[in-house]
């Protein structure tokens, strides 16, 4: 187990190095000169040249990369080119915001998706199944700006239950932000729900067909005993993987939802960074997203192993 973990960590380290090289190279190809951007259009050429020297932009690319990567590891993520403030606290704050939204969304759509998936599997090819499968797939296909706008129109503006704008104060706690989080979390959940429900449905149908479930029914166990002990224990295993993959998406990929609600998450930060060519922001935020993806997948694999006796207990 230890060797396995070490190997997986090694792989994550490699992934991160590869990702950092790609992120660094891509930001180099963005149009425009960094020194020029910082100083503005009207700066003298001498001033620009001095700043280039100061920022190390005249050094060869691989030296620049090593400087940047070294700084990143030490915790020096550079200053924003726009606000001139250190990048790290800004990114970490956004990460915290994204985590709040992600957490709430997971709390909504994972249990709901599992319940709907199990119901669909138990009633497969009948009305409830067709309804659940059809509606959840429709939501997966519906773009977030559509579902988001619909929710705002009806639940925020129409009914007035939730605020329409979620641009929360940077210092607010989770409880304070909660009312602002609900609509974005529902929007995200509508997209994620379908995957969980579908995975759970197909996993459960497979397990319902097995001989050991038939054997359990013929033991005279009650329906709920068969379902919980024999079906769900086995059928929810693949769902763990899907949930973990969702975490990466929730933390870094909610650009549209965050934009619709004006929510200050990590995804929107990357978009801002790109629009303003704020390279340190783009680099740091992207690296965080890659790291979150890698570690949540590792966590999923470990959890899967712990839940599955065939992996947990050897021969």
């Amino acid at each position: 187990m230890l060797t396995y973990l070490l190997r997986r960590f090694g792989f994550i380290f490699l992934t991160l190095i590869l990702a950092s090289i790609i992120i660094f190279s891509v930001t180099q190809f963005l149009p425009g000169d960094v020194a020029q951007i910082i100083l503005g259009q009207f700066a003298t050429e001498v001033a620009v040249e001095n700043l280039r020297e100061e920022l190390g932009l005249n050094k060869p690319l691989h030296m620049q990369y090593l400087n940047w990567a070294g700084g990143f590891i030490r915790g020096d993520w550079g200053d924003s080119l726009v606000s001139r403030l250190p990048v790290r606290p800004m990114v970490m704050q956004r990460l915290g915001n994204s985590a709040m939204l992600a957490g709430l969304a997971l709390l909504i759509y994972v249990p709901l998706g599992i319940i709907l998936g199990v119901i669909a599997a138990l009633k497969r090819d009948k009305m409830p199944d067709q309804l659940i499968t059809g509606v959840s797939m429709a939501f997966v296909g519906l773009p977030e700006f559509v579902s988001g706008l619909l929710l705002i129109t009806f639940l925020a503006i129409g009914a007035g239950w939730f605020p329409a704008n979620s641009s929360i104060d940077p210092d607010s706690t989770f409880m304070e932000s909660l009312p602002y989080l609900i609509l974005p979390a529902i929007t995200v959940s509508l997209s994620g729900l379908g995957y969980i429900a579908r995975m759970t449905r197909s996993g459960t149908i497979d397990v319902l067909r097995t001989d050991y479930v038939r054997a359990a029914e013929l033991k005279g166990l009650s329906g709920s005993q068969v379902l919980i002990r024999h079906v769900l224990r086995n059928s929810l295993l693949p769902t763990v993987t899907i949930v973990a993959m969702g975490i990466g998406w929730l933390l870094g990929g909610l650009i549209v939802t965050e934009a619709v609600y004006g929510y200050p998450g990590l995804g929107r930060m990357i978009v801002y960074g790109i629009q303003r060519q704020d390279l340190p922001i783009i680099q740091a935020a992207s690296m965080i997203v890659v790291a979150v993806y890698s570690f949540s997948n590792l966590a999923a694999d470990i959890l899967y192993g712990l839940l599955n006796p065939r992996i947990r207990v050897g021969k």
């Binding site: 230890l2 054997a215 013929l218 005279g220 166990l221 009650s222 006796p309 050897g314």
Partner: protein, 692 residues
């Protein structure tokens, strides 16, 4: 017997499925009674309705199935009038079931002990602790080694035989009055099967349970059952005590089934198997009159007029044949004697495989990696075989002994680790990818699972045409002619050429696979369990087909099977393999009579023989085959050998001992001693050529 004694009393049961073609009666008017302590064997080919009948009896049918007529009483309780919720109190408490595949029937993520305990808790009102204690007690009852430890294990940590014990323990934990066993030993090795059958027999005597024992294996029925019902196309054809049915065979279908089974005391040189022509009719295509009529040798006009009812032929013996009196007295029909069999001339050497070894590096698991040394699985460890033309070498052994790996090494599908493979004097490279076409053509293979060995997208004819195009460069016209010839040779109608695999039955698919192998005109054909997944009548026709094709083409067969009777029937020579090595090799006649290797002896003693008159010695092997990663020292068989003589077996590798005619045995016990120990052999009644 009087009705009130029967535990299970089924009267005129009819089961109907609602299908796209409308309602279909898959089981019709079946009546049966099972007394306490009685094991009732229900036999029939696949599609005969065995499993449907068993599930209907306990009212566990799929949503589209319903019981449309008849009555079922369980010790007086009318099951058909019980609400579904009440059935749940009967399942697991008064009726239990042991399923076919022990691996699939146990929940992989629940402890073994919990799975036994839950049925006890559900019905006997025991606390969690008491139920666990009961589970361990039940595991002891089925003679599980180390029951406390096993209760805390998961399914993947146990062997197939141990899992089947767990299922039996679960089934008897609530002391039910009626137990259904659906092919309980089919997925097991012959040696494990024998042990499990003994166990079932003893336990049922002790518990006095009524058992419905479903199987397709007539040998198993003969060994364990008291009475037998022969099911065909959803109807009982014949019913009676084991002795009555096996001796008198008052229905042509029973005769047909028994005629299909190869005998351990005769080979293809002596007898041809009599396969039953045709197929079981589907429920929507039942013939008029007797359902077996279209396949029956004794059919006459009156048989087609109306469905013959079951009539009493003797006390407790019923048959659904109108002409049963004709069969009475005519005990066993003399089987067709082969005249052209057994050419004594030796053919030229086709294959010479010397000292083949195949070691797999062990991957997976973390423990061994930390120790530093990389373990290897020695799947094949120094095996040599020589094969001549028009000759069949049978390879037998338990699963995991290296049979298939050896075959795959010879075919080049697996690269041997060392050794020499020569085909007609030419040395072959290990990998199939580096062998030239002329060689590829000469070694062909037929695989076990016909469903997986044909491309489902290609018509049968295309599969057969591939080797002709790829290996023999034939023109389109030649290919078409040759494909037609090959289909004729394997007795398939010409219009099957354009059919897709899913339109063919299992036996037909295997015929296509055989035709494809012969298309390349091979010198050597490797048959890896080619008949194991098929019904007995199909097995018989395929074995006859292989024999005929060998006679006309002179091909050599390497025939791998765990079915010793089939190997005995088809092989000239037999090699006995255990843990990657040969232990005995010789002509089929020599290997199956004493003296034999103790392992061969145990295998033979385990074969279920479809003849209740033959009494076999009970030699049973303990446990299962040791891991090929951790091979025992000295003689590899010493850990399980019933004839172990002492320390020498653990310390030294046994020598090869030669007998006349190339028969060789690898054992520490000298031949003379083996001969004295084993006497006249296991198949007492069946000496050489032992017909009644």
């Amino acid at each position: 017997m009087p009705d009130h004694d029967a535990v299970l009393n089924v009267e005129n049961l009819t089961v109907t499925y609602n299908t796209e073609k409308g309602p279909l009666d898959t089981v019709r008017n079946v009546s049966l009674k099972i007394a306490p302590g009685e094991i009732y064997g229900l036999v029939g080919e696949s599609g005969s309705g065995k499993t449907t009948l068993a599930r209907a009896v306990v009212r566990y049918l799929p949503a589209n199935g319903l019981i449309s007529g008849g009555a079922i009483h369980l010790s007086g309780t009318d099951l058909l009038n019980l609400p579904k919720a009440e059935m749940r109190r009967i399942w697991g408490a008064r009726v239990t079931m042991v399923h076919q595949d022990p691996n699939a029937s146990i929940n992989p993520s629940m402890l073994i002990g919990e799975q036994i305990a839950e049925v006890v808790r559900a019905h006997l009102n025991l606390s969690k602790k008491e139920a666990m204690a009961r589970a361990v007690e039940m595991l002891k009852k089925v003679r599980m080694p180390d029951p406390e430890a096993v209760a805390n294990r998961y399914a993947h940590q146990l062997s197939g035989g141990m899992l089947q014990r767990v299922l039996i323990a679960t089934a008897i934990a609530t002391n039910p009055e009626f137990l259904i066993m659906d092919e309980p030993t089919t997925a097991l090795d012959v040696t494990t099967e024998a042990v499990i059958l003994d166990l079932i027999h003893e336990l049922m005597e002790e518990y006095n349970t009524a058992v419905l024992f479903i199987t397709h294996n007539l040998g198993v029925v003969a060994r364990i059952c008291d009475r037998i019902g022969v099911l065909y196309a959803g109807e009982i054809m014949e019913e009676g005590s084991i002795r009555q049915v096996f001796k008198d065979r008052l229905h042509p279908y029973t005769r047909g089934l028994l005629g299909c089974v190869p005998r351990v005391d005769a080979s293809r040189k002596d007898i041809a198997l009599s396969a039953i022509p045709g197929f079981i009719p589907r429920p929507d295509e039942l013939p008029d009159g007797c359902v077996f009529g279209p396949r029956c040798d004794f059919v006459e006009e009156a048989c087609r007029a109306e469905r013959p009812p079951l009539v009493d032929a003797a006390r407790g013996h019923q048959t659904a044949c109108r002409r049963w009196e004709l069969m009475k007295g005519k005990a066993e029909e003399a089987r067709e004697i082969r005249e052209d069999g057994g050419t004594e001339e030796l053919g030229h050497v086709v294959l010479e495989a010397r000292n083949i070894k195949k070691y797999f590096p062990f991957t997976g698991g973390f423990g061994p990696l930390l120790k530093g040394k990389r373990p290897v699985v020695k799947a094949v460890d120094d095996i040599s075989v020589r094969m001549r033309s028009s000759f069949t070498m049978g390879i037998v052994g338990e699963s995991g002994c290296g049979k298939t790996t050896l075959a795959r090494c010879i075919a080049g599908l697996e690269e041997a680790t060392s050794g020499e493979i020569e085909l007609e004097g030419k040395k072959l490279s290990y990998s199939v990818t580096s062998r030239p076409r002329e060689i590829l053509k000469k070694i062909q293979m037929v695989f076990q699972n016909p469903d997986a060995s044909l491309n489902p997208q290609h018509p049968a004819g295309d599969s057969v045409a591939r080797p002709l195009i790829l290996l023999r460069n034939m023109s389109k016209k030649q290919v078409r002619e040759r494909v037609a010839e090959l289909f004729e040779a394997v007795s398939l109608p010409a219009d099957y050429i354009d059919r897709l695999p899913h339109e063919l039955s299992g036996g037909e698919k295997q015929r296509v696979a055989i035709a494809r192998a012969f298309a390349a005109d091979p010198a050597l054909m490797i048959c890896d369990e080619p008949i194991s997944s098929l019904d007995v009548s199909v097995q018989a026709s395929l074995m006859n087909l292989l024999t005929d094709l060998q006679d006309s083409k002179g091909t050599s067969y390497l025939f791998i099977s765990h079915d010793l009777a089939a190997v005995r029937h088809i092989s000239d020579w037999i090699a006995v393999v255990y843990l990657g090595r040969l232990w005995e090799i010789g002509s089929a006649e020599d290997v199956f009579v004493p003296p034999y290797h103790p392992y061969t002896e145990a295998l033979l003693s385990a074969i279920p023989i479809p003849d209740p008159e033959i009494k076999q010695d009970r030699i049973r092997l303990k446990g299962s085959v040791p891991s090929a990663m951790d091979i025992p020292s000295g003689c590899r068989f010493h850990t399980r050998c019933p004839r172990k003589i002492g320390e020498i077996c653990e310390r030294e590798e046994p020598p090869w001992r030669d007998r006349p005619d190339g028969h060789r045995i690898c054992c520490h016990i000298p031949i003379e001693e083996l001969e004295a120990l084993q006497g006249e052999g296991l198949l007492k009644k069946a000496g050489v050529g032992g017909d009644k």
